[in-house]
């Protein structure tokens, strides 16, 4: 038992050597002969790093404080879930998680990629091996999570209480499954550029991987936003914080990639662009990892940082991305242009989608890096925050989102614009009507904010109704034959369902973000027992105090009562102040009232004793209308991604003959 940690470190060394060998045999074997060993090596590498990771988790479960990382981030009193999630709660541990996922994806190329041409598969494995060697080497030599202490302390320093939360326990694994999933796309892109062959088949192989990574990334970002919303106690869910942007940029690149890959798969067009996006998506993933760890950004989300590690990560980023893009520059001009299309066609709308997403991505990129560059080059401090993104990112995205239903109703190659407009007119009218009715309930401070609200609602409803219209088209729906059309529901391909869920989810999210963003009410007030405060139609009364012991904390809480405009009691929120003796920290715990769409959100700060000796607490009380939609929408989108992935034609790697197909033919 005592040497189990050394077995872990040994496995980490082994994984590093195996990754190097995996790349080595492909380079030396030039696609034949010994190159085939890369497949077995990728499996062995995944197994060994998995063991190393399991050893780390085991060390956390056992509270083995002879391991530095465990001593610094765990405590015997922590609940089991947070002991386990502590394994990726630090820089070192999360790097090991990253590497584990990277090598497991590498093994999946071997396992699921047997239907791919051998040359492409082996070259992709070679690139994956290089990436593995870089990241496992970095983890091993600069941030080994299994490093030991000469003398083990009796007790650990515990994990930051803000991170002891179910949403945050699963946030990093989901996010990394997304980030690192893009590495497969990157490897396939580089492999195809080396092979010099890019065709529709390539897009068909790569799209499922991009879909998988995109779905994980969507869930990961949503979990992060939800955590920020109810754990940090500031009432918001997205601050355009640089670390949030770092996860949003690969998501935008992946979203563009998913759409351009459709064009490449269906029409053999946009090849160079699609490959470029494939390289870009993983580059942004790596950049996110670099920015969070380099110390260039300070944020509530970022880890304790070390500039030296930052330089190493920057070197990895520059070498891999630089290599990929240099190869692209060399090979892209020789790619044969693909299928032609008319100005009015689905291809054109998808090109526009990509153009607009790129422009939006550029605004997030500039907004994130501008302050850093200004500081580094001119020693000037500046800030870029929500108002900038609303002004620049917002309008670009509005145009992109308005195009969505138009695009899905267009046909390939040449579309009939007049027909599309006719089909969508009713949906648009309904969307505008719904938005206009919704706007009646909003009185903004300026004309501009009222206009924003109306446009936002139109976009949200338009996405939902326009997408519903697309579904009707797919069903060939006629009012007088409605039942017949509904019977065709089961015939709609899963990939189409995926598109419908993703686009409706986007609409649901937009509605939530617009309504919450404009209609949110909040009040902050020092309250003593018996005090009450009004917010809109609601009244919050501070009734009593209670104390309760938790798993590894002591909680003091307030019992509140919320009455609505008619004087009915609608809920009893009980926000808490949790004291964690292990780290001597206090964490405020938000209380939410559960209504179907809206949140009533109560959080209390530390008590103060006034001059008259009466204790009072700073209480913040929010009314966040429709906020649930903000988290529900992205889940629908991720579900759409998964549905698409389940489509027979889009399985990872291989095109198998499904049973259904066999029956029909």
């Amino acid at each position: 038992m005592t040497h189990i940690n050394e077995i872990g470190t040994y496995c980490l060394v082994l994984a590093f050597c195996l990754s190097l060998t995996q790349a080595g045999v492909v380079i030396a074997g030039k696609g034949r002969g010994i190159a085939r060993y890369a497949e077995g090596i990728s499996l062995a590498g995944a197994v060994s790093i998995f063991i190393a990771f399991a050893v780390l988790i085991f060390a956390f479960i056992r509270s083995d404080f002879s391991v530095v990382n465990v001593a610094e981030h765990s405590h015997t009193d922590k609940p089991l879930l947070y002991k386990i999630s502590g394994a990726w709660g630090s820089h070192e541990g999360s790097m090991l998680l990253w590497c584990t996922i990277l090598l497991v994806y590498g093994a999946m190329i071997t396992l699921r990629g047997q239907g791919l041409p051998e040359g492409l598969r082996l070259k992709a494995l070679g690139v994956q091996g290089l990436l593995g060697a870089a990241f496992v080497g970095f983890t091993l030599f600069s941030s080994n999570p299994l490093a030991r202490l000469a003398e083990a302390p009796l007790q650990g320093q515990s994990l930051n209480p803000a991170l002891q939360d179910p949403a945050l326990a699963f946030h990093p694994p989901m996010l990394y499954l997304g980030y690192v999933g893009m590495s497969v796309v990157f490897s396939f892109a580089v492999a195809a550029l080396i092979e010099g062959r890019l065709d529709r088949a390539w897009a068909r192989w790569v799209r499922p991987w991009a879909l998988l990574a995109w779905s994980f990334l969507t869930i990961g970002i949503t979990l992060g936003a939800f955590w920020a919303y109810y754990e940090l106690g500031w009432g918001g869910w997205w601050a355009w914080d640089p670390v949030e942007n770092a996860s949003f940029m690969p998501w935008l690149a992946a979203t563009a990639l998913l759409h351009s890959a459709i064009v490449m798969e269906k029409r053999d067009s946009l090849k160079a662009w699609t490959v470029f996006l494939g390289l870009l998506a993983f580059t942004f993933s790596m950049m996110g990892a670099f920015l969070v760890r380099s110390g260039l950004l300070t944020s509530v989300h970022s880890f304790a940082v070390d500039p030296q590690r930052g330089i190493l990560l920057a070197a990895i980023l520059l070498l891999t991305a630089g290599g990929g893009f240099a190869l692209f520059a060399l090979r892209a001009p020789s790619l044969a242009p693909g299928g032609l299309f008319a100005a009015v066609s689905r291809e054109t709308t998808l090109v526009l989608n990509n153009l607009l997403i790129s422009a939006a991505l550029c605004s997030v990129f500039l907004g994130t890096l501008y302050p850093i560059l200004m500081q580094a080059l001119f020693d000037k401090t500046m800030s870029v925050g929500a108002p900038y993104y609303l002004a620049v990112f917002g309008p670009i995205m509005i145009v992109a989102l308005l195009l969505v239903p138009v695009s899905t109703l267009m046909s390939w190659k040449r579309a009939d614009l007049k027909g599309v407009v006719q089909r969508l007119a009713a949906a648009f009218a309904v969307a505008v009507l719904a938005a206009a009715v919704g706007s009646l309930f909003y009185k903004g401070p300026t004309f501009l904010s009222e206009a924003e609200y109306l446009i936002g609602l139109i976009v949200g409803f338009w996405l939902i109704f326009g997408t519903a219209r697309t579904l009707m088209q797919a069903l060939n729906f006629r009012l007088n034959a409605a039942v017949k059309a509904l019977r065709r529901l089961s015939g709609v391909p899963l990939a189409t369902w995926g598109m419908i869920f993703a686009h409706i989810g986007l609409g649901v999210f937009v509605l939530g973000a617009v309504v919450e963003g404009h209609q949110r009410l909040s009040v902050m007030q020092g309250m003593s027992l018996g005090d009450s405060v009004k917010l809109g139609q609601y009244e919050l009364r501070f009734q009593s105090l209670y104390q309760t012991p938790g798993a590894n904390y002591d909680a003091q809480g307030g019992v509140f009562e919320v009455k609505d405009g008619l004087g009915r009691i609608i809920c009893q929120p009980k926000p808490q102040r949790r004291f964690y003796p292990a780290s001597n920290q206090v964490q405020s715990k938000v209380a939410l009232c559960f209504t179907p769409l809206d949140d009533l959100y109560v959080v209390m700060a530390e008590p103060q004793t006034g001059v008259d000796g009466v204790m009072s607490w700073q209480v913040r009380f929010f009314y966040n209308p429709w906020v649930r939609l903000i988290f529900f929408g992205p889940l629908l989108m991720a579900l759409g991604g998964v549905l698409s992935l389940c489509d027979r034609r889009l399985r990872l790697g291989i095109v198998r003959k499904g049973r259904k197909l066999a029956v029909k033919t």
């Binding site: 008319a342 422009a359 500039l366 108002p387 913040r620």
Partner: protein
């Protein structure tokens, strides 16, 4: 005189709902200079409260948003503004994203295929003959 003293503070701090809403919108644009990327609307730090009070007083005194932003900038520098100024140094930040969209759109427009050309899908007499031959072979 006494009447004036009594009424004055009340007048200075009783904001109309419009003023209050305007203030709240401004708060989201102002960084809490001692917090980590939080606006003074979101932060419950002492200084954020002081800055909110100042801005409310400025609004009540009849200052415009532009004036208030200018004063904040004079006092705290660029760091306090979450909406960066539209200055020479920030041109790229503000203009590059929309330019990408506009120039990209223009390139697309310029390189679009003329519908009459692409619409000519009819086969030539030669191709018709070839097609018929192929179809015959498969029959």
């Amino acid at each position: 005189m006494i009447w004036f003293l009594l009424i004055f503070p009340l007048h200075a701090f009783s904001a109309t709902p419009q003023d209050e809403a305007r203030g709240r919108q401004l708060f989201t644009e102002v960084r809490c200079v001692q917090c980590q990327s939080e606006s003074i609307a979101d932060s419950d730090a002492q200084i954020a409260g002081d800055m909110r009070r100042e801005i409310r007083a400025d609004i009540a005194a009849g200052k415009t948003n532009a004036q208030i932003r200018k004063e904040l900038f004079a006092h705290y520098g660029d760091y306090v503004l979450f909406r960066p100024r539209f200055s020479m140094g920030n041109l790229l930040l503000w203009l590059l994203p929309p330019l990408i969209a506009i120039i990209g759109g223009a390139i697309l427009w310029a390189s679009r295929r003329k519908p009459e050309k692409s619409g000519d899908y009819a086969l030539s007499a030669d191709e018709e003959k070839k097609l018929r031959d192929i179809l015959k072979k498969h029959d």
